[in-house]
Symmetry: C2
Subunit: 227 residues, 2 copies
């Protein structure tokens, strides 16, 4: 058997939530090398010899976009022989979530262009990255229903309406405000704070906070987060 000539890469599908415009954002970079030079693509790159896959993702994200990731999870590994036109590259895709304060990119970092795109209005993408994104979207949409990952897209303290809007935006379906709150509060993993937030118009909203500790206890007892 001949020597294996397969390169291993990682790619990151990073989502953010834009409270202002109630949109799901996706982080892309513009490639500055061939192939697909000057096209938009997912942040990512080859894995170094001594780093773990997660370290590789974080490093590439830092180098290419300056974004700090809040939640990272392995998505799927793409290994079709010709997904890269030059060499064989197998890529382990991750999906990540970032907080709203990351939404204004410090484009300063390094040379590459990095930008947020509205999830339903993406430019043409390099490689099979559109497919990867589709899978990531599917995953986040189903996962958000039975694990409390939505909070990773919000500020630590948030008005309940933010959470509600996040869910409607992500799932593209209407939610009954009363039922939604009832259900979430009944789990006992969200605490009501004594602070308020005023957005400029309308009645000020109480702020809430997700309690990770309570959530782990819930899980220990066989309880389930579920929307």
């Amino acid at each position: 058997m001949t020597m294996q000539k397969i390169r291993l890469a990682v790619d990151a599908v990073v989502f953010g939530y834009d409270r202002q415009y109630t949109q799901i954002g996706l982080l892309l970079i513009k490639r500055k090398i061939e192939p697909f030079i000057n096209q938009w693509a997912l942040p990512g790159g080859l894995v170094h010899n001594e780093e773990s896959l997660e370290e590789a993702v974080s490093r590439e994200l830092q180098e290419e976009t300056g974004v700090t990731i809040n939640y990272l999870e392995q998505l799927y590994t793409f290994g079709t022989p010709n997904r890269d036109p030059r060499n064989r590259v197998v890529s382990v895709a991750y999906f990540g979530l970032v907080r709203p304060d990351m939404f204004t990119l410090h484009a300063s970092t390094d040379a590459l262009e990095a930008e947020w795109f509205e999830i339903h209005n993406l430019p043409p993408l390099a490689f099979d990255h559109q497919q990867i994104i589709d899978i990531a979207l599917e995953r986040i949409r189903s996962k958000v229903r039975y694990e409390p990952i939505g909070f990773e897209l919000l500020e630590e303290k948030f008005p309940f309406s933010d959470l509600e809007k996040l869910y409607t935006t992500l799932l593209q379906e209407d939610i009954d405000r009363r039922n939604f709150k009832k259900k979430l509060m009944s789990l006992g993993v969200i605490e009501e704070l004594q602070e308020h937030y005023t957005s400029g118009a309308g009645r000020p909203a109480k702020l809430y906070r997700f309690n990770r500790k309570e959530y782990f206890e819930l899980k220990e007892m066989g309880g389930n987060f579920s929307i």
Copy 2:
């Protein structure tokens, strides 16, 4: 940057269901090369340059065990730098399901020893394979609740009690026979045949068959398989 020295492998966690003893079986091979020579391990090996990951899994399974796989799904990619004591090997793990007729191994194939083990009575395993198996078990247990993969472990035509026993065995919890059947039949994806099966003792059982076509139609319409 120095040349990347990472090898890419695949491993397969293959489950079977033993009707006789109502046990979940796991397929293992005995390694005949270092490292971990003579230890039990998951079937798997390095990916060839021009084959897809799925092809690699099927090939290795065929070479090492002779088993024909009925369902194959990517599980997770394991990439910790030192999971293989010699070189860095990143492994894409798959989990597979086989039909009961595969359960009697044609051990004839090739030289390697391949054997079924009861899932709760495994020998010490090479590498991080125990961890991979744990994750696979978790996955199959949760997946069997909301996707009709249980049928992939049974004969095409099966008595309802087989399905019921498979679920109790897998999920380790009791099931009410009447409610279970009611629920499954109400989905309209299982057809009752006019054939009967007699196991030697007791009343003969009607045979049933999972109807893939109906299932896809159900899914199109937004319906859900769920136990």
